[in-house]
């Protein structure tokens, strides 16, 4: 317990090593499985089960999930908790005013979080989310009992703690830029979760891929159509190039 407290204090006092603009740890690269339907479906399930309780995804319709291979019936049977119509949008289960009262801030809408959290020089929003959801640690100094390395002093508890278990960051004292600092070295598993670390990382990868997809559901179509458009335009550019040459060869 004391060790945890001490580590927490040390974290707050001096994190060195790569710093993000938010004051958090450098971001890991998210796996980006937005073309893997199985991963996206698993991510959708995790999202609906763990996130929609407090967060909304107000611009995302349930029936859009057919784009990742789910039928209306599958959506109705497994994913419709807050409504009964598959054409409705993903509203949260919680009342925003109650949420503000309990957490201090209204849990933000997540439809676009994978796009809005990108930061030049640090990584994509997906990278941030992938890091954030995997760097929670136990911190008794906080009201929720949790803190986070990517978003220090976050007001959100570790909703997925049952899957990941309880962890604490481990620091070593090193010389950085000519002075002593606490450098983050790794994690200590205090109590296990239902998933192994590898399984948990994979689950978060799925969830983050889903969030990435949900932020722009037309992205896969966009790329597919784009390939054809560019092929056509290459042909057209060739034709117009020869057309231009055919006329200009007369000009001396």
């Amino acid at each position: 317990m004391k060790k945890i407290l001490l580590s927490a204090v040390l974290v707050l006092a001096s994190i060195s090593g790569a710093q993000a603009a938010t004051g958090g740890i450098a971001w890991d690269k998210a796996p980006n499985n937005t073309n893997d339907l199985a991963a996206l479906q698993n991510g959708a399930k995790l999202f609906v089960n763990y996130c929609l309780n407090c967060h909304s995804a107000a611009f995302m319709r349930f029936n859009r999930l057919k784009d990742i291979g789910l039928t209306d019936q599958q959506i109705k049977d497994n994913l419709l908790f807050t409504t009964d119509k598959v054409g409705e949008t993903m509203k949260s289960a919680i009342d925003p005013r109650q949420a503000k009262e309990w957490f201090g801030a209204n849990p933000p809408d997540l439809t676009l979080v994978a796009r809005s959290r990108s930061a030049a020089g640090q990584g994509t929003g997906a990278d941030y989310l992938y890091t954030y959801l995997r760097t929670y640690y136990v911190d008794d100094a906080k009201a929720t009992g949790w803190n986070n390395l990517a978003f220090p002093n976050v007001g959100m508890p570790h909703v997925l703690w049952e899957l990941q278990g309880k962890r604490a960051p481990v620091y070593a004292t090193e010389m950085v830029h000519g002075h002593e600092a606490q450098v983050f070295k790794g994690w200590e598993q205090i109590s296990p979760g239902k998933l192994t670390p590898v399984q948990y990382d994979q689950a978060i990868g799925d969830l983050v891929s889903y969030l990435q997809w949900m932020a722009e559901p037309s992205q896969n179509t966009r790329v597919r159509v784009g390939v054809w458009v560019l092929l056509f335009l290459s042909v057209m550019t060739f034709v117009t190039w020869r057309l231009n040459a055919a006329f200009w060869k007369n000009i001396k």
Partner: protein
């Protein structure tokens, strides 16, 4: 020389080839570009969701009672007909404009409603409550006998307050009335004995 400079009619076959090639690619490109723009005119997902099929619980409707639900902005009536009301249906054929619902069947009477009661279950009439004349919503006139604007032998049905069209308990229009057609039967299906789905009639 000035001929080719003005470029009105290309004396040069290679020019002609490339003009034709560019015109063709241009037309294909223009058409392909127009498709997404014109597609934005189609009903959006929001419109389709708002127009989605409506599930209705019909278990609480008592015989002789009518409920109204909204589907695609239109009132849809669900009437639980009594055996007496059903019995009158066959006696009215002479007075009706289209007793067998043969007119414009694709528009007003789907296949499963091409029967005497114009319904799937004889007991339940499911019809769009909009007069086929000019779009007012007819009033319920289930009481039998003479009433204002109704004949002395009135057997029950609907009266449109705007121009006086009358319809029977199967939504069939009477002769010599302004309305030309029977009331529209919307696509619908029963999900169970107590659950009616209005807006769809196949398990898509």
């Amino acid at each position: 020389m000035s001929d080719t400079l003005a470029g009105n009619t290309p004396a040069d076959p290679s020019k002609r080839t490339w003009i034709i090639a560019s015109t063709c690619t241009g037309i294909v490109g223009a058409a392909a570009t127009a498709v997404p723009f014109v597609s934005t005119f189609q009903p959006s997902e929001r419109a389709k969701a708002a127009g989605a099929a409506v599930e209705v619980d019909i278990s609480a409707i008592k015989p002789g009672e009518k409920i109204t639900v909204e589907w695609r902005g239109k009132p849809v009536w669900i009437v639980r007909r009594t055996p007496e009301q059903l019995a009158t249906l066959s006696t009215l054929n002479g007075q009706l404009a289209d007793p067998d619902s043969k007119r414009k069947q694709d528009e007003f009477t789907p296949v499963y409603a091409r029967n005497e009661g114009r319904s799937i279950k004889p007991e339940f009439l499911v019809t769009v409550g909009i007069c086929t004349h000019l779009g007012c919503s007819p009033s319920d006139k289930f009481q039998l006998g003479a009433q204002a604007s109704l004949p002395d032998d009135w057997k029950g049905g609907f009266l449109c307050p705007c121009h006086g069209s009358t319809f029977d308990m199967a939504g069939r229009v009477y002769k010599n009335k302004p309305a030309p057609d029977n009331l529209e039967i919307p696509p619908h299906m029963y999900l169970s004995d107590s659950k009616l789905l209005i807006g769809e009639d196949t398990q898509a």
